[in-house]
């Protein structure tokens, strides 16, 4: 039987600011290197999301102006399907802006509350225009290394870059993706980064996120395939360039 990973990329034109294309390139590469098919569907404004039509739903970061357009469309045409997809164990990966949008609400610098898609039990608050943005290289330690470790060195960590004004607080319905070793993470205070709920993962880390975090990329692929195909073993592939980039990023200030 030939496996195919069906991926929906939400708003690829409007939300593509932090090298999000690299995440799609990475998923495609890591599937095709193992003989797994890769099929990408791009969903833009007004496109309907079929909650069970995909193995993985991906969304990235956007500028404020685009984000405002996306929120409106998300709530009108996709949020309900997204919540249903997560309930039914479809995998989700939300990076940067999408991570915030998929929470319960976003309170902007003026105190105004904007509703989110409610995929994750979390909210994000902007502490005001004068507050320092969380910007810089970030290294975090995976909360559940046994899921991804394979005993390979250096892969208990996720490395990348964060750049966000909002501070995210997790509710009881999610658990953190990782613990911050260096950087700010969700809010710069409680040491958490990202959120996990069923097979949905949200994170501030870009860089791009997946290429130099190959274990995380494989974890996402396995989560995505599991709903329809059960546990799928992914054969090892040549990750020398990936591991060099990962290791080098551990040392960045």
């Amino acid at each position: 039987m030939t496996l195919t990973l069906h991926v929906a990329h939400l708003y690829p034109r409007l939300m593509n600011i932090y090298g999000d294309r690299g995440n799609i390139m990475c998923l495609r590469h890591r599937c095709e290197a193992r003989g797994i098919g890769f099929e990408l569907t791009e969903l833009g404004l007004r496109d309907r999301l079929d909650p069970l039509g995909f193995d993985l739903i991906f969304a990235g970061g956007a500028q404020d102006r685009e984000q405002a357009i996306v929120v409106e469309d998300l709530l009108a045409s996709k949020a309900e399907a997204l919540r249903e997809a997560v309930e039914r164990d479809v995998a989700v990966l939300a990076v940067c802006g999408a991570y915030q949008l998929f929470g319960r609400f976003y309170r902007d610098a003026s105190g105004r509350e904007l509703p989110g898609a409610g995929v994750f039990d979390l909210y994000t608050e902007h502490p005001g225009e004068r507050a320092r943005r969380c910007v810089g290289n970030i290294v975090v330690e995976w909360e559940a290394p046994q899921q991804i470790g394979h005993g390979r060195p250096g892969l208990r960590t996720i490395v990348g870059f964060e750049n966000h004004g909002g501070r995210t607080r997790l509710g009881s319905g999610v658990r953190p993706l990782a613990r911050v070793r260096r950087g700010s993470g969700n809010n710069g205070e409680d040491g958490t980064e990202g959120a996990v709920c069923r097979n949905a993962i949200g994170t501030y880390i870009h860089g791009s996120l997946l290429p130099k975090n190959p274990a995380l990329a494989d974890h996402v692929i396995r989560l995505a395939l599991a709903r329809r195909h059960g546990g799928v073993a992914l054969a090892p592939i040549d990750d020398r360039a990936e591991l060099r980039a990962h290791t080098a990023a551990l040392r960045l200030r």
């Binding site: 405002a68 290289n137 290429p211 990023a249």
Partner: protein, 506 residues
């Protein structure tokens, strides 16, 4: 002469000399910092002496080349430019240049014939508008660049709008800010002699790229006689593919999606809003025909301004640079020159005799090899460079740098939006260098360059390896980010027996 200004100039000159002798990092900005500390209005007080006033050039890509072209046009018009040509484009860099040009007493020599041509960092523009009160401002384009430093493209666009809001109104003469009074008045007298040119009234003339929705937007609500639009009319220069590095997807007026009749690169093209009627303005200065050659580009520039502020005309010239981005630079410089009322017959010769700006398509002869340095500092600019390299003849040898200094942007995720794939097919040798060489090597792996793209952190060793790998008579392409370009150029200039950049010039 303001005694504070004289003291500031003297301090700046001494600091600059000390820095140069002790070779403290290039030295160009040190003089400016020292002078600014003593006289906060140093830029205002020195630019104010320039009889021909000032023109500012800003935008994400192309400002160094465009301002150098303008400077050559001005020189060909019997003016003496005051130009921060080393690309040091923050306030302190402008101040340093002015200090260097000034006498110890704080006077700009030959002041009557001086025109300040100021290359200005996007974020520094508001301060420069206040300090230098430019007669015209040329905006090249607005792309995402250094998200960690500037914030998003929107942040820059908004800062520009705020900077121009007071300046484009007629009442600038009424300003209550006393510090502005002197230079503004000086300029008023000086520029009265050139009443025929459109850019001589109180508020600056905006020279805007019509093809960039983020730049063209600045002309909304500004009296039409204060705006000069330039753009490419030749639709054969367009590309089919939707590039991955596009920063304006939505209308700045109403937020609806923009559609393009033709795209040149990034989000530059013939755009219009799908809902509110906002669309690309018809350019006054138009590139009506562009033909790419192996090492030059043939341009036909048409001038057609409806209000007769500029007599209609046409110019044909051969620009000795490749890449559509350089055609834009030439067009922007032409529009800037026309905005200032510089003689038209000075434009063609200056552009035809143009040699590349600092680190932009510069070529060095190193031990029998031709070494071309092409700055690639953000996805859109880099894609243009990669396109130009791909179009050149023969097998390619590439030395690519990725640095993550403050001036490069600390966030390197932009490399995933650049299309390194464009140059892969005919590349026979590649080396990934710079502080983030490993990230680059991984990106190059994805572009098809193989698992084992070699990595080298040391700039000198990287250059040596690359020169060795290039046969005599062959071409090596070096693609650095900004801070890597400074290092590379310094090393290459030494190996080529050339001069260092602060001594460069004519």
């Amino acid at each position: 002469m303001n005694p504070r200004t004289s003291a500031a100039v003297a301090a700046g000159k001494i600091a600059g000399a000390v820095s140069r002798i002790s070779r403290l990092g290039g030295g160009t900005a040190v003089a400016g910092l020292a002078a600014e500390r003593i006289d906060h209005d140093i830029v205002s007080n020195l630019v104010g002496q320039a009889g021909e006033g000032a023109i500012a050039v800003t935008g994400t890509n192309g400002k160094t080349t465009t301002s150098l072209m303008l400077s050559r046009i001005a020189s060909g018009s019997a003016l003496r430019p005051l130009h921060n040509r080393s690309g040091s484009n923050l306030m302190r860099g402008v101040a340093a240049m002015l200090v260097e040009e000034s006498t110890f007493a704080g006077a700009i020599p030959d002041a009557k014939r001086r025109l300040a041509i100021l290359e200005v960092d996007e974020a520094t523009l508001p301060a420069i508008v206040r300090a230098a009160a430019p007669r015209a401002i040329v905006f090249t384009n607005l792309f995402r660049d250094q998200l960690d430093r500037y914030g998003e493209v929107d942040t820059v666009a908004k800062a520009w709008e705020r900077a121009l809001a007071p300046a484009t109104r007629d009442d600038r003469q009424q300003t209550t800010d006393n510090r502005q009074q002197t230079p503004t008045n000086t300029r008023q007298t000086a520029t009265n002699t050139r009443q025929t040119a459109p850019g001589t009234r109180g508020a600056p003339l905006l020279v805007l790229n019509a093809d960039d929705p983020g730049v063209a937007h600045l002309g909304r609500g500004v009296p039409r006689e204060r705006v000069l639009y330039y753009g490419i009319e030749d639709t054969s220069a367009g590309i089919e593919s939707d590039e991955h590095a596009s920063d304006f997807r939505t209308c700045l007026e109403c937020g609806s999606e923009l559609v393009y009749g033709v795209t040149f690169y990034g989000h530059l093209g013939h755009w219009r809003c799908t809902s509110c009627g906002n669309r690309r303005p018809v350019p006054d200065i138009a590139l009506t025909k562009v033909t790419a050659g192996a090492d030059a580009t043939a341009l036909t520039i048409g001038i057609a301004r409806h209000d007769d502020a500029l007599p209609p005309g046409e110019m044909k010239l051969r620009l000795p640079l490749t890449g559509l981005y350089n055609a834009y630079n030439a067009l922007a410089a032409t529009a800037g020159a026309l905005a200032l009322g510089l003689p038209r017959d000075a434009i063609g010769p200056a552009l035809e005799g143009f040699t590349a700006a600092f680190g932009r398509q510069e070529r060095f002869a190193i031990e029998g090899r031709d070494v071309a340095v092409l700055l690639g500092k953000n996805p859109t600019g880099l894609n243009q460079v990669l396109r130009a390299i791909a179009a050149a003849e023969g097998p390619k040898r590439l030395l690519v740098f990725l640095n993550d200094g403050i001036a490069d942007g600390r966030d390197v995720s932009w490399i995933w939006d650049a299309d390194y794939e464009l140059v892969q097919p005919r590349t026979e040798w590649v080396l990934a260098a710079g502080t983030r060489a490993e990230d680059l090597a991984l990106r190059l792996k994805y572009a098809g360059f193989g698992e084992d793209v070699p990595v080298e952190h040391d700039t000198g060793r990287a250059l040596s390896r690359a020169v060795e790998a290039t046969p005599r008579g062959g071409t090596l392409y070096v693609i650095p980010t900004y801070t890597a370009m400074l290092d590379v150029r310094d090393l290459l200039a030494k190996r080529a027996g050339g001069r260092r950049f602060w001594e460069d010039g004519r």
